[in-house]
Structures are given as structure tokens and as C-alpha cells.
């Protein structure tokens, strides 16, 4: 009986979370409507709230992080699934990646402040001086920027990509590798034309799930992205994400601002749930597909 109750409670928890947030967000939802999503001003003093720049910042930082992390994560996943290296070294690499996953977000943030920000400031200024005519690289170069946050985010989602890609690479039957080698393929021809295409849905799923993680990642981003709601094309400008906005403003918010933040939180829940459900769906289909190969 208690077990049944616990199960019902678990299920209702999700509904309760979403319901509670929507309930508290209701004043803002009814007041601002969809204008909240398309608005580009966020000014609590004037009670004007629009999150478009923040939504763009969320998508841009997560996408950039994924772009950086996917090749790295795939390279490591290949090392862990193919027999390039003796098992002992593979074990070490695995341990290192697990360590990356275990480091708290706030420690990444601290490290980012003292290592990545100075680097981005120094080289960003050089790049902006030379290539500033490209909108993405326009100056002035800030240390607290979209680029800084994306670099650290890339590290943080790497373990997700590695773990899921690895398991889908390992699931490729040995018979396919054997078949390819027997036809005179080199190792990399086998990897690129047989193994990766076979594991592709799993690799895609790892990317989607990593994207979802990056969107929800809070502390490191809040410490590094510069928390600016101004729209800018440049990767070297400060930006903001939904989760960083919540982290920075909740403790001191009151009145309608709390409600507006709840609205933003509801958007974040909606986006991450959507991305995660998509990722899980792709992953499930992959598992079915590779099961058919055995």
C-alpha cells in the first residue's frame, strides 16, 4: 500500500512541479502573454519583461557547446569502443571522463573565472581586432561572454556524449567489423562507413540529450556568461541563458518579477522536457534497430 502511494506520489510530483510553477507564473502569463517570449527588454524596475535575448542566448550557448563537444566526445567514445588502445589505458580514459562528470558545476565556474575568462579576453581581443568585421567576432571582446560559457559547457556535456555514443558504438555487432575488414577495408574505412553509420542514431541521441543538459546547466554559465539581456551577434559579447537568469535574480526578486521568473522557469521546463523526450525517443529506436542486427 505504501508502495502504491509512493508510486502515485512520484508520478504526481512532476505534475505538481509543473503545476506549481505555472500557478505562480500565472500573473505574468496573463499580464504579458506571448509578448514575454518575443520581448527584448528585461527591466524589473519598469516592470517590463521579455526573454527573447535570453532564449537566443540559451540556444546559442548550448548549440556552440554541442558543436565543440561532439567531435571530442565521439573521438573519445571511439577510443573506448574500438581496440586502438590496451584495456588498461582505456580504463584510465574512462576514469578521466567520469571524473569530468563528477566535478560540481560551481567548480567549473570558479575555474572558468580564473582560467578561461582571461584566455578569452586576451585572444578574443586579438581576434576581434583582426576579424571584427565578421558579426560573430565583433569587438569589444569581453571575458564574460557567450564563448566562455560555451567552452566550459562543452566540457560539462562531454561525458554525456561519450557515455551514450560509446554504448551505441559497442552495440554494433562484431560481425559487421569482421565483414568490413574481410573486404579489405582499413580500420578507419570500417569506422567511417560501417560502424558510425550503424551507430548514428545513438550518436544523434547523445547530441540531443547533451543539448538538453547544456540548456539546463546553471551555475557555471551564471558565473561566466556575463548576464546581459542585450542582443548581440558577437560570440565575444556577454549574453544570458534562462537558467542563469533564474540563478541571478530569484533571491532578490519580489512582486511581478517573481512571477515573470516563474514564467521563464516554465519555458525552461518545457524546452528541456521536449528535448529530452526527443532524445529518449531516438535512443529507444536505436536500441530496437541494433537489437535487430544481432
Amino acid at each position: 500500500m505504501a508502495c502504491l502511494l509512493a508510486s502515485v506520489l512520484t508520478i504526481t510530483l512532476l505534475a505538481f512541479i509543473v503545476g506549481e510553477i505555472l500557478f505562480k507564473a500565472w500573473p505574468a502569463i496573463s499580464k504579458f502573454g506571448l509578448g514575454f517570449i518575443t520581448g527584448i527588454q528585461w527591466s524589473p524596475n519598469r516592470e517590463v519583461f521579455g526573454v527573447l535575448p535570453v532564449l537566443i542566448g540559451t540556444a546559442a550557448s548550448s548549440f556552440l557547446a554541442l558543436l565543440l563537444a561532439l567531435p571530442l566526445g565521439l573521438a573519445i567514445a571511439l577510443f573506448l569502443s574500438e581496440d586502438f588502445l590496451p584495456p588498461a589505458i582505456r580504463q584510465i580514459i574512462r576514469f578521466v571522463v567520469e571524473l569530468l562528470a563528477a566535478i560540481p558545476s560551481v567548480v567549473y565556474g570558479l575555474w572558468g573565472i580564473f582560467v578561461v575568462i582571461p584566455l578569452v579576453q586576451k585572444y578574443g581581443a586579438l581576434v576581434a581586432a583582426k576579424l571584427g568585421f565578421i558579426p560573430f567576432l565583433a569587438g569589444p571582446a569581453y571575458g564574460n561572454s557567450l564563448l566562455t560559457a560555451s567552452l566550459v559547457l562543452a566540457l560539462m556535456v562531454l561525458p554525456t556524449i561519450t557515455a551514450i555514443s560509446r554504448s551505441s558504438l559497442v552495440a554494433v555487432p562484431y560481425a559487421l567489423r569482421e565483414g568490413s575488414y574481410a573486404l579489405g577495408a582499413t580500420r578507419w574505412e570500417t569506422i567511417l562507413s560501417v560502424i558510425i553509420p550503424t551507430a548514428a542514431p545513438g550518436i544523434v541521441a547523445s547530441g540531443i540529450l547533451a543539448f538538453g543538459r547544456a540548456m539546463g546547466e546553471t551555475m557555471a554559465v551564471a558565473m561566466l556568461i556575463g548576464n546581459s539581456q542585450r542582443l548581440s551577434w558577437s560570440l565575444l559579447s556577454p549574453s544570458n541563458t534562462l537558467s542563469a537568469l533564474l540563478a541571478n535574480q530569484f533571491a532578490e526578486a519580489d512582486g511581478i518579477q517573481v512571477s515573470a521568473l516563474m514564467y521563464a522557469a516554465a519555458l525552461l521546463v518545457l524546452l528541456t522536457l521536449g528535448v529530452n523526450i526527443a532524445g529518449e525517443a531516438v535512443l529507444r529506436r536505436t536500441q530496437k534497430a541494433t537489437a535487430g542486427l544481432r
Binding site: 559487421l176 565483414g179 568490413s180 574481410a182 573486404l183 579489405g184 582499413t186 562507413s193 534497430a289 542486427l293
Partner: protein
């Protein structure tokens, strides 16, 4: 070089003399998995354009030897060998031999069919594509030639671009045979090609093997003695890592000279 080769420079020709008596020559060959010696000094000469069957109980080393002809065993960590295997008088272990070229000249068919999760067409042209051959007409021609020689053309010609995974078990295995001959190898190695197939599919593959020996030197490992007697001209009986007897198939099955061979083929062990 024949004219055909100059048209398709990446395809190899079969310009060896037919009927060589020692086409594949195994010379005092020993093979080790780590410390364990799996083959104890095998001597064997396999003639070309004939079907040679390797029989023997499980673990006797017949598959191990077969997998050394195209050096597939080297994918297993911790193996080494002594002695030599020569094909056409060239040692396959000669430093100038490139494994990828060796394997293009020796097709292999596995116990369980292993089509890639691509279309039927792409499966067959895979060996050509990896060698840099992407000319449409050459690829189409190859697909038809290979499917015809695997007696699969009529069954699949209308759905060449469907996934290979939609074929039946027997069709998949014949597709793998078609793929194995796509790079115009001279030798076909078959590692128990029918063990996962039903009797009807098995009969089709056996028919195909007899057909294929006109163009290929075929070495087949089998557990099924009827199969060996049906398809092969020569039979080698292996036991505990030794070659016990190698002779004409008819002689092996009617009048073997070794007592162990007789016991095995009459079903007294194994």
C-alpha cells in the same frame, strides 16, 4: 593486364594459370592464441579452382587455419604464428604485402550472414567504394554481375535500394557471397556458411558453391559431412590442431587411410 582491367583499373584480374596444384601452400604452419598452440605445424597444398572442404570436430583448428589465409586472425590480440603460408608463391606474411590488398583478393563468407545496415546495392559496392571507385556505371555493372553470380539477381533486382536487412536469412547469406566476389577475388573462404540456414536455403547456397568453383578457388569449413561430400572435390580432416588426412573427397568418405578419419566420418566421435 587485360583490357577489362584497363577499363576498371581498381578491379583485379584473374590472370593466374588455372589448375595450379599448389595455389595455396601451407608450410609447417603453427598458430598460437597467447601461449596456447592451436595449430601444430600444418602442411597443405590447395589447388586452384576446386572446392576444398575442411572438416573435423569443434576446436580442431579448421576455422583458425581458414582465417589465417586472409590474416583475419590478426584482429585478435595476443596471437602469433610460425611457419609460412604462400599464395601464388608469395608469402602472405611478406613485409611488402598489404593486408587490405590481400583481403581484396580473398573473399570471405562468415558463419552468420553479416550484411551492413545499408541498401542491397551499397552492400555490394562497399569494397569498390572504399577503394575509391565511385563511377556509377562500374558500380551498377558490378552489382548485376555479383548478384547474378550469387543467384540473387532475379529475386532482388527490383529493390536494389531497399535495406539489406529486409532479406530472408538465405538471401542475406547469398548477398554476403555477392559482396565477397565484388572485388574480383581469386579465393573464396567460407566459414560454415550454411550453419545458420534452413535446408532449402542451404541447398541453394550449395548449388551456388558448385557453380562458383568455375571462377574461384573455394575453401569451405563445415560441420556437415554430407555437405562436404556434396560440394567438395578435396577434403582435409583436422583433429586437435593437426591435419590428419588430406585427399580426394571420395577417397576420404569411402576409404580413408587413417583410423581417426574413419571414426569421425562414420560418426563414432565428434
Amino acid at each position: 593486364m587485360t583490357t577489362e582491367a584497363s577499363q576498371h583499373p581498381l578491379e583485379l584480374t584473374n590472370d593466374f594459370a588455372p589448375g595450379e596444384s599448389n595455389f595455396i601452400k601451407v608450410d609447417n604452419f603453427k598458430f598460437f592464441y597467447g601461449k596456447k598452440e592451436a595449430l601444430h605445424g600444418i602442411n597443405l597444398e590447395i589447388p586452384s579452382r576446386k572446392v576444398t572442404a575442411f572438416i573435423g570436430p569443434s576446436g580442431c583448428g579448421k576455422s583458425t587455419l581458414l582465417r589465417n589465409f586472409n590474416r583475419m586472425n590478426e584482429l585478435i590480440p595476443g596471437v602469433h604464428h610460425e611457419g609460412d603460408i604462400t599464395i601464388h608463391g608469395t608469402s602472405i606474411y611478406d613485409p611488402s604485402v598489404e593486408i587490405i590488398a590481400l583481403r581484396r583478393r580473398i573473399g570471405m563468407v562468415f558463419q552468420k550472414s553479416n550484411p551492413f545496415p545499408m541498401s542491397i546495392f551499397e552492400n555490394i559496392v562497399y569494397p569498390l567504394r572504399i577503394a575509391g571507385q565511385n563511377t556509377r556505371s562500374v558500380l551498377e555493372e558490378t552489382v548485376e554481375r555479383c548478384l547474378r553470380s550469387a543467384a540473387l539477381w532475379d529475386e532482388v533486382k527490383d529493390r536494389l535500394h531497399d535495406s539489406a536487412l529486409g532479406l530472408s536469412g538465405g538471401q542475406m547469406q547469398r548477398l554476403c557471397i555477392a559482396r565477397a566476389v565484388a572485388s574480383r577475388p581469386e579465393i573464396l573462404l567460407m566459414d560454415e556458411p550454411c550453419s545458420a540456414l534452413d535446408p532449402i536455403a542451404t541447398a541453394k547456397v550449395e548449388e551456388l558453391i558448385i557453380e562458383l568453383k568455375k571462377d574461384f578457388t573455394i575453401v569451405i569449413v563445415t560441420h556437415n559431412m554430407q555437405q562436404a561430400s556434396r560440394v567438395s572435390e578435396l577434403t582435409a580432416f583436422f583433429y586437435l590442431g593437426n591435419l590428419v588426412e588430406f585427399d580426394n573427397t571420395r577417397k576420404i568418405f569411402t576409404n580413408p587411410s587413417m583410423k581417426q578419419t574413419e571414426e569421425y566420418i562414420t560418426g563414432r566421435f565428434g
